[in-house]
């Protein structure tokens, strides 16, 4: 996979008088992980939907550039794991993952292989041929995540993917996210409310507050500055 720089350039969005995002600017290297944190209503989900193209920004743009060329290009293959469980209740785990993979242009044999691997990583192999409506809440969450990752998107947007997943499952998912980022060079941008997750994943931490962002280049920087007082002041 080529090395890209994803540029989020001065994105703003308001709903009526409420300014949800104010000139959010961010630069992400391909294969890196960005963890977004912030209180409820800080604008994380709005930000993600704009990156996905599900919502139009009032201003700003999102594009990628290679190191060789200064010509910006659009980010085409995006995987999105919404905050709400978004699955087909009347299809099995395998069926819906294959459908999403095929609809994103993956061929039949590759999609079969990819789905089997992902089901295994998400610990859903035993439930592969079970209708999604019959899964437990945590399993549905994992399937939700699987649908975002099954077609190996270059840019993955995961909105609170670990919510509702048990501790054991979380560890597997965190390891998997680290793995696809480092080995497959997929870029991950995700949100979480759990500080532990933010520190466990090897990435940049972005704090959303009042529509603006504060960027911590590394976990160390984040750990150093994130004292109890800071948390109170920045209202995480």
């Amino acid at each position: 996979m080529d090395h890209f720089v994803y540029k989020i350039d001065s994105i703003s969005k308001s709903f009526g008088a409420l300014n949800v995002l104010k000139n959010v600017t961010l630069e992400i290297q391909s294969g890196s992980i960005v963890i977004c944190i912030g209180v409820n209503g800080a604008g994380k989900t709005t930000f993600f939907k704009i990156l996905c193209g599900l919502l139009k920004a009032d201003s700003g743009s999102f594009y990628k550039k290679t190191a060789k060329s200064s010509q910006p290009s659009s980010v085409d293959v995006i995987g999105y794991c919404p905050q709400e469980i978004s699955i087909w209740p009347d299809l099995t785990c395998r069926e819906q993952m294959i459908m999403v993979a095929r609809l994103n242009g993956m061929n039949a044999s590759k999609s079969k292989e990819q789905v089997n691997g992902l089901l295994n990583r998400l610990q859903l192999t035993s439930k592969a041929d079970t209708l999604a409506s019959k899964l437990s809440g945590g399993m549905k969450r994992r399937l939700n995540l699987g649908l975002a990752l099954v077609h190996e998107p270059e840019f993955c947007i995961l909105d609170e993917p670990l919510d509702g997943v048990d501790l054991h499952g979380r560890k597997f998912i965190r390891d998997y996210i680290n793995e696809i980022s480092s080995q497959k060079k997929q870029t991950i941008i995700m949100s979480t409310h759990i500080m532990e997750e933010a520190l466990y994943l090897n990435g940049i931490i972005v704090l959303f507050k009042n529509g603006e962002v504060i960027i911590f280049k590394s976990q160390n920087e984040f750990s150093d500055r994130i004292s109890e007082d800071f948390l109170m002041e920045k209202a995480i």
């Binding site: 939907k49 996905c52 599900l54 919502l55 139009k56 995006i78 995987g79 999105y80 919404p82 709400e84 469980i85 978004s86 699955i87 087909w88 209740p89 009347d90 299809l91 069926e95 819906q96 459908m99 999403v100 095929r102 609809l103 994103n104 242009g105 209708l131 649908l147 077609h151």
Partner: protein, 383 residues
Amino acid sequence: MIKIFCYLRFSFLRLIRDPLSLGLTIFTPPFFTLFFWIVYNNSTTDVSLAVLNEDIGVETAQKRQYYGNQLILLLSDTSNINEIVNLQLVSVESEQEARTMIKKGVVHGLISVPAEFSVKCAQKREAVWYFTLQKGILYYDAVRLLLDKCNIQFNSILIGKKLLVDIKSTDFKEQTKFSIFDSFVPGLLTFAVIMLVFSVSGAVSREIESGAFIHLRMSSLTPVQMISGLSIVHFFAGIASVFVTLLTIKLSGFSFEGSFYGILILCSLTIISAISIGIIIASLARSRHKTLLASCIIMFLFILFSGIMFPVPDIEVLRLGQNTVSLFDLLPTIHLHSGLTAMLFRKAEFTDISYEYYALIFLTILLSAAGKYSLKYFVYTDS
């Protein structure tokens, strides 16, 4: 194409995994067909008609002949021809009197015999008697068929085998037996198509409400590809519903005279329109609850203003050549119903109902485009 078939395959799986919805879509119309057959197959009805007999008679060698009177006498007792419609004849002095009675609901139509009727009959010249039936009366087609049969009998008794006496329209289906149930057949087939609005709008809104639609939006599946995959699955469900309804109608003793392919083309066009309407409803309503309410409104609109149950008011909106486009011509079901009625009862050919065909083709294209744009702008793109 691969994406269409991929989505089609999984749409089909989703459809068959909801057997209640599929069953209701396919088997509700035949169930109603059976119900209507049980209730109406042997029922009888009284239909009152005003009679304006202006026949002045004709002088023959023996005596003065009044062929008009003999025709009225034949019409007054039709029990040997038909046991379903009992004609109640009310004599009137003028057409104005008859029209007043029709307005008041005392009679449902007028039979008039012109002054020179007997003269023409005696001279073996072509004679004509007229009838005007209030459109939309229950068993309209049964009454028309009965009058036609009376005319044939009148010809054979008084004139001979050659048909010299004519009524205003003679292009009726000649059936040995016409049951009241038969007059409901076009409506029941139209109902089979209307049911699709529910299943399609339900399927799309369920997909939107489950949130899974977001994965389709994120993929490279375009609205046209999505609609194609979805439409093919529901098209065949609609055709299955029409076939099962036709089979039930056939088993109930109805004799099909019109072109089977003609019926299929009319139904297919309307099925595509119904699918598009379902997509428009789901795109605008977006939740299953609202979709159900909106689909009910559309269903009542179709049933009430397509001529299935009540006469359709003729509200002219524009004129295209010789054809007048009425407000309710905007409903595809009105063309399906009138096309089926013409085909099943009057053996209409393509040229006889070309207006219905062209109107359905136009509406199908229009609604398909509207379906595509509503899905694209209300579901695929958030503002």
